[in-house]
């Protein structure tokens, strides 16, 4: 976008302004009807509150501003009260929830900044652009604090791709993440991919970004200093995404086609230039505060920045560079056009700021000024179109008390359906699981993402349970993971959510990192349904329990409700993003076996819990029971053991046991080895007591399979005993074959053929991608 183009666009639009002013005059006289209130997503009580706050009827612009600021998406009116139960503080927490992203101290004046966000609704309507702008938006949240983004992870959930709509959504979302992330040059290093019919019309797209910054250089979204100028930076303002926040706070009626104007279109090239310019700006001495213009655009950013500083703002909307003719004031206030930021700088530094942004061809326009008095005044050609108190807009939003009740007949101790008789063949079952969409290799997806750009990716996707990134000029490294388990949460929200925290921590510990803190992405259906709100409340309780037990406070997060369409509601999906630290980058280990002759061992206890497992789904067609349960004390001990073994370099590989159970975990260790190494397992604890299928495919947590030099077995057992973790030798690493008891004897190649079919070094196959649907 060149400056010239911006100017001519501006000039053209000015010609329309007088016409609009006239139209606005008539609109200002408009009496706000109950229909208009409802159309803005506000209920009668909320409207009465607004009238009481203002002491008069709102104008149309004011009604629009209230409608987005008080939408679920912006003010968390259904969730705020419960979210207060999450632990958010700790000795290493530099910034908890409430800012653009959270920040954690890594020591020696470095901080890691991270956050997860959902882009579910837009990604169903326009998969490519919805996902692309999801990446762009979360990256802005990171560099707004001054942090250089170093990694993206994404947790994706779709319907099974035999369904045409799910298939199109899946392919488009992957393409969109690649399109934005690859171009902007931040590696996509991890995440997860899951398929279940409950996501067929409401995909879950949770994107997490991680950045680093000198701890003393963090910048916040503040509007201090009355008289300081307020600037819009980045791109021009268009009509895209208007009422996106309200849209995300409602259920979708049908195929989503009628919602297209509410989806934003991203431009990763402008995003990249914007990122570089903002990172430069955050290192100047004249920046006061800066905030991403995400949901509810100019409205939300101006209100939140003023509220944090206890100030106000006057905005002059005719100064906003627009990309379309005839934009109305409320459209400018609500536009969610991408790649825009709102910044406050010291008075007198305007020219330096303009030079910085104009040099990159980016918009840089003063649109207002910080004021005393706590009011947001919005003007349009000298006429005041809104004059509102900032406090009630930002913090005075109503808290909605929701009814909460478990689904009829729910029991926390329900038994799973009976296991099939006779027991299916273990070998055949394993191959079917490895070929399933839930468990097959994700190489088809992550090979489309640039995961090595920036040259800092120590462990790549598919190589380990978590991604590991080195830090420039330092010996330590950070690890990151993003996990969810909607099936376990659906069966038992509290245990399932706590188990999700445990799985994330286990994933970090497996690569050798100590878990530090959490960002949570909470995806649920309509909270107006008592059973949905119950799922939400129980999940938050479980998250809080898990985070407390494992010492990982929540520093940022996102809530997405209304993920339902017609009769289809998503399984409750709390997604846990977790970041950890390795003291030394070279202590890292992946999941792949390394050396023939190494010993293979299980850490933890087999309990044979098939409820909610991939195996149960395969043989029964539906999940039943109350999930595998969670033992946070056992998880804590296992995580401590895994972290301690890294410092002592005792393990050659480690992989947690999760979806698919012990047998799939062992198979994955073989498949992740570069040289087709296999295992020979001659004892499995629990064999003889539990049925073989439950033993090998059960999904209870607090377990990991590890390989190690046989010479360190003694020290490993000693450390495990000291920490109270059961240690069980299973067998040894062998070339080429996968042998487990007398139940499985397969070549690694035949497992690989079903798990990761490919037609060439770069041509991974996915069953649903028959038509090359990229682009």
């Amino acid at each position: 976008m060149t400056t010239t183009a911006t100017n001519s666009c501006e000039a053209r639009s000015k010609r329309f302004d007088s016409a609009i002013v006239n139209r606005l005059r008539s609109l200002a006289e408009v009496e706000i009807s109950p229909e208009m209130v409802r159309a803005h997503g506000l209920d009668e009580g909320e409207f009465r509150d607004i009238v009481a706050i203002l002491g008069r009827q709102p104008t149309l612009v004011e009604l629009s501003i209230f409608s987005v600021m008080w939408s679920e998406h912006c003010c968390y009116k259904s969730s705020r009260a419960l979210l207060r139960n999450l632990p958010t503080t700790g000795p290493r927490i530099l910034q908890g929830p409430g800012e653009n992203a959270g920040a954690v101290d890594l020591g020696d004046n470095l901080a890691v900044v991270f956050k997860v966000e959902s882009h579910n609704h837009p990604s169903f309507v326009m998969p490519y652009h919805g996902a692309a702008t999801g990446v762009g938006g979360i990256l802005r949240d990171i560099f707004t604090l001054g942090a250089r983004p170093i990694a993206v992870l994404d947790a994706l959930r779709f319907g099974p791709t035999a369904d045409e709509i799910s298939r199109t959504t899946f392919l488009g979302v992957v393409d969109g993440i690649a399109g934005y992330g690859n171009c902007i040059g931040v590696p996509t290093v991890g995440g997860e991919l899951h398929f279940d019919p409950s996501f067929a019309r409401n995909p879950i797209i949770n994107v997490m970004a991680v950045g680093v910054i000198e701890a003393d250089a963090l910048v916040f979204g503040r509007a201090d200093g009355p008289g300081n100028p307020v600037f819009i930076l980045g791109a021009t303002t268009g009509r895209d995404g208007i009422h996106g926040a309200t849209f995300a706070s409602d259920v979708m009626a049908g195929d989503g086609g009628e919602s297209r104007p509410q989806v934003q279109i991203g431009d990763p090239f402008v995003g990249k230039e914007m990122m570089e310019a903002v990172l430069e700006l955050t290192r100047t001495d004249y920046l006061v505060g800066i905030q991403d213009m995400g949901a509810a655009g100019l409205t939300c950013s101006s209100v939140e920045m003023s509220a944090r500083s206890g100030t106000g703002m006057v905005l002059e909307l005719e100064r906003v560079p627009v990309r379309e003719e005839g934009m109305m004031p409320h459209e400018i206030m609500l536009s969610e056009s991408q790649e825009r930021m709102l910044a406050v700088v010291e008075a007198g530094s305007e020219d330096r700021l303009r030079e910085l942004f104009a040099g990159r061809g980016l918009v840089c326009e003063q649109v207002g000024e910080v004021r005393d008095g706590g009011r947001l005044e919005v003007r349009w050609h000298g006429r005041t179109v809104a004059d509102l108190p900032v406090g009630p807009l930002a913090d005075g939003a109503p808290i909605v008390a929701r009814a909460s009740a478990p689904p009829a007949g729910w029991r926390g101790d329900a038994e799973p359906g009976p296991l099939p008789e006779p027991m299916p063949g273990v070998e055949e079952t394993l191959l079917r699981l490895l070929a399933s969409e839930s468990l097959r290799s994700r190489a088809y997806v992550f090979s489309q993402y640039d995961h090595t750009v920036r040259g800092s990716t120590v462990l790549r996707p598919g190589a380990a349970d978590a991604a590991v990134l080195r830090l420039a000029g330092r010996e330590d490294a950070i690890a990151a993971t993003l996990d969810g388990n909607s099936r376990h949460v659906a069966l038992h929200p509290r245990a399932g959510a706590a188990g999700t925290v445990a799985e994330a921590a286990r994933n970090l510990a497996c690569v050798g990192a100590r878990p530090l803190a959490v960002t949570d992405g909470l995806n649920f259906a309509d909270p107006g349904r008592p059973e949905v709100f119950w799922q939400f409340a129980e999940s938050v309780t479980g998250l809080a329990e898990g985070c407390r037990a494992l010492g990982t406070p929540v520093v940022s997060g996102n809530v997405s409700f209304y993920n339902e369409t017609g009769e289809l509601r998503v399984d409750p999906t709390p997604t846990v993003g977790m970041v950890g630290q390795l003291e030394r980058a070279d202590e890292v280990r992946g999941m792949g076996l390394r050396t023939a002759g190494d010993a293979v061992a299980l850490l933890g206890t087999n309990r044979g819990r098939v409820s909610g497992s991939e195996y149960q789904l395969l043989v029964d067609g539906r999940p039943s029971g109350s999930g595998p349960g969670v033992d946070l004390e056992a998880e804590r001990a296992l995580i401590e053991l895994l972290v301690r073994t890294a410092g002592e370099r005792l393990l050659r590989s480690a992989h947690d046991v999760s979806q698919g159970g012990l047998l799939v975990a062992l198979a994955e260790c073989c498949l992740a080895s570069g040289d087709d190494l296999g295992v020979e397992v001659d004892e499995v604890p629990g064999h003889g007591e539990l049925r073989a299928d439950a033993l090998l495919f059960g999904e209870e947590g607090a377990r990991a399979v590890v390989s190690h030099d046989p010479q360190v077995g003694g020290r490993l057992r000693e450390l495990a005993t000291e920490l109270g973790v059961p240690f069980h030798p299973l067998g040894r690493v062998v070339p080429g074959r996968f042998r487990v008891l007398d139940l499985v004897d397969l070549s690694i190649q035949e497992m690989r053929d079903v798990w990761c079919p490919r037609a060439g070094v770069a041509d991974f196959l996915w069953p649903a991608d028959d038509g090359r649907a990229g682009g």
Binding site: C183, F269, K272, S447, V453, G455, V761, A762
Partner: protein, 236 residues
């Protein structure tokens, strides 16, 4: 006499940081600097590297706008005077758009972006990225591109082969040049091409992403050592 290398940053370039780092860590006494795309003079440099990325968003043909930036003409003059110019990924595309290297890089035959490791075998004349590589050895290097399929007219490809200007080909881990090891459908498994003097080279793979053991096996380092050796005139 220390080596002076410039790494060009266009708007949208995104591999400059690791390229500078890999040059610096591989070539102990090199002076490595970032060059602004508006710069018009390169006379004080020994070598110029055009790193990867999406210059100007690659919204036209990849590399097309970059080739028309002020520094483009300077790169052309610098190369004509015998200066070493190395283009990696988007930089390779830029060198073709500048007319400094033959052929075109079109969309991968899978029509998908591909990021992963490939294996490479050096051949042909000594060039500014391959002169220190062992003939017969196999190098493991990451690629990450959506438009890396090398294409040229039959007679051009033949001329390149005859004159030893094809300097890198995709192969399997054992060194067998074979279409199954070709990540993008390039004609003749071509991964890197040099001009007749060997001083201008373009390659799709990213040696800067495997310049140490932490992020790979360090196979990328020798590509940068070649650059230094070629500048020193010691290449044979």
């Amino acid at each position: 006499m220390s080596l002076s290398v410039g790494v060009v940053r266009f708007p949208g370039t995104n591999c400059e940081t690791e390229t500078v780092r890999a040059l610096g860590s591989t070539l102990a006494d090199a002076r490595v600097e970032l060059l602004d795309h508006r710069r018009g003079d390169l006379a004080d440099l020994d070598a110029v590297v055009l790193p990867g990325g999406f210059s100007y968003g690659d919204y036209l043909r990849a590399g097309a706008i970059a080739a028309r930036a002020p520094i483009g003409a300077a790169v052309r003059r610098f190369a004509a005077a015998g200066g070493v110019v190395v283009g990696i990924c988007n930089g390779f595309q830029q060198l073709q758009e500048l007319g400094l290297l033959p052929g075109a890089l079109i969309r991968n035959r899978t029509l998908r972006f591909f990021c992963g490791d490939v294996h490479l075998r050096p051949e042909g004349r000594p060039s500014a990225v391959t002169c220190e590589l062992d003939r017969g050895a196999v190098y493991r290097i990451p690629v990450a591109h959506g438009e890396g399929c090398f294409w040229a007219e039959d007679e051009d490809l033949k001329r390149l082969e005859d004159r030893g200007q094809i300097v890198l080909r995709y192969c399997d881990a054992q060194g067998v040049v074979d279409d199954g090891a070709n990540p993008n459908g390039s004609l003749g498994q071509v991964a890197g091409v040099a001009n007749e003097g060997g001083n201008v080279v373009g390659m799709m793979p990213h040696p800067e992403r495997n310049a140490d053991r932490l992020t790979g096996n360090g196979d990328g380092r020798v590509f940068f050592r070649s650059l230094a050796a070629f500048c020193a005139g010691g290449a044979r």
